[in-house]
């Protein structure tokens, strides 16, 4: 048993730290640290910096422009970037579509789409969920009917994250209504600027606009945009769902969130002393910090097993459950920490930066919306109830 990282891994970690120190604009990291929303331009700015370094798709195989990083390297990179408050890279193209293309796409598709991702030419979004389907992803009703060299797509997708910025969507469509419902699903790439595509915002309970509904009315998609074989889309989608599972623990985000929470608890005064010295609050902080330290090692154990060739299986559902609970708990504690200033709803200008002074402490404005927004963690990506069903069946055999 050896919990330390190898000298090579340590050196890699230092390299990541140095890079972040010199290349990550403080303007961006400060927004991330304090929970502000980034504009599309800011996200693209950071992705361009990574692309220049060759790290935008570092987890890809080298032949496609990646670095061929090991799982341990990817873990370290995730932790370091989160703790440095680097913006999150939009994962839909780089981490979700690309692995599918690399595994199942045609040579033409790989040659066309992968370099464009590295170059920042496309903003991809994901079209899996449909209204009323919830965690039942195989419940796909959006129809794609073959018509010569094209598919004609009709239907609706929902919970499309950042779909308002996207020019391309990869999605599951139904090409066959007979037989078991998993069989008639295909994997299609759709131009969001094509006629018949309409994007409507969904305002979430934090007041934010992050997700969307997408409507397709007679949208014509070239048949060359079909990935793999018709009717095998469910297989590809499942491959993607098990990809990058360890990131679900969100250790880096939780560590950064906890550090921010502590700084707030030091600044807030309760009963004449800093809140962090309040016995009950300190106990809650300590509990979540301990849970997080435990989860970090749980995650490392899964990473280490994967590094030795073991595929992370249903155990990674444990990471999703505990990781989401911890992040939610940190966001709840932050809400409690700011006391009455949980109340003011920050106007848009506050979110984007303005010259008007903040209402209450400058850190307070985003806290309640963040708490509300993070309720999603236990719902999306396969609700925690679904994860428990998976563990119960796959791990426990119940």
């Amino acid at each position: 048993m050896d919990l330390s990282f190898s000298p090579e891994e340590q050196a890699f970690r230092e390299e990541v730290r140095d890079f972040l120190k010199s290349e990550l604009p403080e303007r961006l990291s400060e927004k991330v640290r304090t929970g502000k929303h980034l504009t599309k331009a800011e996200i693209e700015e950071w992705q361009a910096i990574l692309s220049r370094k060759g790290w935008l798709a570092a987890h890809w195989p080298k032949e496609y422009g990646g670095q061929g990083w090991s799982v341990v390297q990817r873990y370290l990179y995730d932790i370091e970037t989160s703790q440095a408050h680097a913006p999150h890279v939009v994962p839909f193209g780089l981490s979700m579509l690309a692995p599918v293309l690399i595994a199942f796409g045609s040579e033409e598709q790989k040659a066309h789409w992968l370099p464009r991702m590295l170059n920042g030419d496309d903003w991809w979004c994901q079209g899996y969920s449909e209204p009323g389907a919830g965690s039942d992803l195989a419940n796909v009703r959006t129809a794609a009917i073959r018509d010569g060299d094209e598919y004609v797509v009709n239907g609706q997708k929902t919970w499309t994250t950042l779909g308002q910025h996207a020019n391309m969507m990869f999605c599951l469509v139904r090409t066959d209504t007979d037989g078991p419902r998993q069989h008639g699903i295909s994997f299609l790439l759709v131009d969001m600027e094509a006629p018949g595509v309409e994007v409507r915002p969904i305002i979430t309970l934090d007041g934010g606009h992050e997700v969307n509904e997408v409507f397709f009315t007679d949208v014509r998609v070239p048949a060359e945009n079909l990935v793999g074989e018709e009717g095998r889309g469910w297989t590809y989608a499942k491959y993607l769902l098990t990809y990058e599972r360890t990131s679900m623990a969100a250790i880096g985000s939780s560590k950064a969130g906890l550090a921010w929470l502590k700084s707030i608890a030091r600044a807030e005064m309760a009963n004449g002393k800093p809140l962090i010295e309040d016995a009950l609050f300190a106990a809650r902080l300590a509990r979540v910090e301990i849970e997080l330290a435990n989860l970090e090692t749980t995650t490392l154990r899964v990473v280490a097993a994967a590094a030795q060739g073991g595929a992370p299986g249903a155990e990674s559902s444990i990471l999703k459950i505990k990781g989401s609970e911890i992040r939610q708990e940190i966001s709840s504690l932050a809400r409690r920490a700011i006391g009455p200033y949980a109340q003011p709803f920050p106007p848009e200008v506050d979110m984007e930066g303005s010259n008007e002074p903040a209402i209450g402490p400058d850190y307070a404005g985003v806290i309640t919306p963040n708490y509300l927004n993070l309720r999603k963690l236990t719902i999306f990506g396969g609700s925690n109830e679904i994860q428990k069903n998976i563990i119960s069946k796959a791990v426990l055999g119940l």
Binding site: L205, Y341, Q343, P344, T368, L372, S383, E385, K388
Partner: protein
């Protein structure tokens, strides 16, 4: 021992419920909170007309009811309808006026005047006894300087009741018109749809008669305000329970209603148990407020606010979780109830604050 509503109280609840059902709506609520005055003046006038404002106060001072049991009946109903009108602040301010300036209550009860308390400051968190705002006396006038934090419905008010340190070092309560020179309101919508404001006072001059009395007058107002919030939270929780239960029964996934999942059934039962305990906590607080034992009153009020704070948030979070994705959207009425259920804990002292108060009073 009788836990049923009296006929009068039931009649009031019926009238108020019908009014909310027929005349109030969440879209009206949402629009009103976007800008000053932050509530719907028409609704307010009608609440006054059907007697809701008057029912907050004792017949001795011109009201129609005013017992703690009346308050829980009214505020549970308001919570069930998610009404975002300044009823709770007016109850608090009116309670102080009833003791000091009953002559002003007539206009409050008729709906013509709105008076709200401005007792909390940024440095004080949930402790209203930490006051930095000053009231300096010169001759027969006071000059008020300072700032108050998260004053609920300040923009709706004609008058504020402001706590300020006097030259003696004691804290007094002062009646300050919102349109007095030097009063500045920075209004904003709340995360729960309740509008509030940061209020600052710069050399605000008020007369000698503006002084209502000392800070201890606020105690009864805070106890009633807390009771009102607790009852409101109970109404919200009941609404969330009904909505979630309905959703569990009608939402089909994997070919069957999600309510057929035993894991969700048991969690729903836990929600029901919590809500029954919330109701009992509210009743306990009302009973104590109805009694004369100061310590029992303080303990029961804190116990209720603690119970409501913890369980109300649990209920809201479970309601969101069991609704799944749709529970994350502003479109659904449910999420507005859930937001209010959470934010109630941040008004007049959260669960931690009241648990500490409860423990301290046990030691006393």
């Amino acid at each position: 021992m009788d836990f049923t509503l009296s006929d009068d109280r039931q009649a009031l609840v019926d009238v108020l419920s019908r009014f909310i059902r027929e005349r109030y709506s969440l879209s009206l609520r949402r629009n009103a909170s976007q800008d000053a005055p932050g509530h719907d003046s028409g609704t307010w006038q009608q609440l006054a007309e059907i007697g809701v404002i008057g029912a907050l106060f004792d017949p001795e001072v011109g009201g129609y009811a005013g017992t703690p049991y009346d308050l829980i009946a009214i505020f549970e109903t308001l919570g069930h309808g998610l009404v975002a009108e300044p009823v709770m602040p007016v109850l608090m301010a009116g309670t102080i006026l009833a003791e000091t300036r009953p002559d002003l209550l007539e206009d409050v009860i008729s709906g013509e005047a709105i008076v709200v308390p401005a007792l909390f400051e940024a440095a004080g968190r949930y402790d209203h006894t930490i006051v930095q705002t000053r009231a300096a006396k010169s001759g027969t006038a006071y000059t008020i300087d300072g700032a108050k934090a998260v004053v609920l419905h300040a923009e709706a008010a004609n008058l504020l009741i402001v706590s300020a340190v006097e030259d003696s070092g004691d804290v007094g309560l002062f009646l300050v018109p919102t349109d007095a020179e030097g009063v500045f309101l920075r209004g904003y919508p709340g995360n729960d749809g309740t509008r509030a404001a940061e209020v600052s006072f710069t050399s605000v001059a008020v007369g000698e008669d503006a002084r209502l009395g000392d800070l201890s007058l606020a105690d009864a107002a805070l106890a009633k305000g807390s009771l009102a919030l607790c009852a409101e939270a109970l109404g919200i929780a009941e609404w969330l329970k009904t909505a979630t239960l309905e959703y569990l029964k009608t939402r089909v996934q994997f070919g069957k209603p999600i309510g057929s999942n035993q894991a969700l059934q048991h969690r729903m039962v836990e929600m029901v148990v919590r809500i029954e305990q919330m109701r009992s906590a509210v009743i306990n607080a009302a009973a104590a407020l109805d009694g004369s034992d100061e310590l029992a009153r303080s303990r029961a009020t804190s116990a209720a606010k603690y119970t409501i704070g913890t369980s109300g948030i649990e209920v809201a979070e479970e309601a969101i979780q069991m609704h799944g994705g749709i529970g994350m959207t502003m479109e659904l009425d449910m999420t507005h109830y859930a937001r209010r259920a959470v934010l109630i804990d941040h008004q007049l002292g959260d669960a931690d604050h009241h648990l500490s108060k409860y423990i301290a009073s046990a030691a006393a």
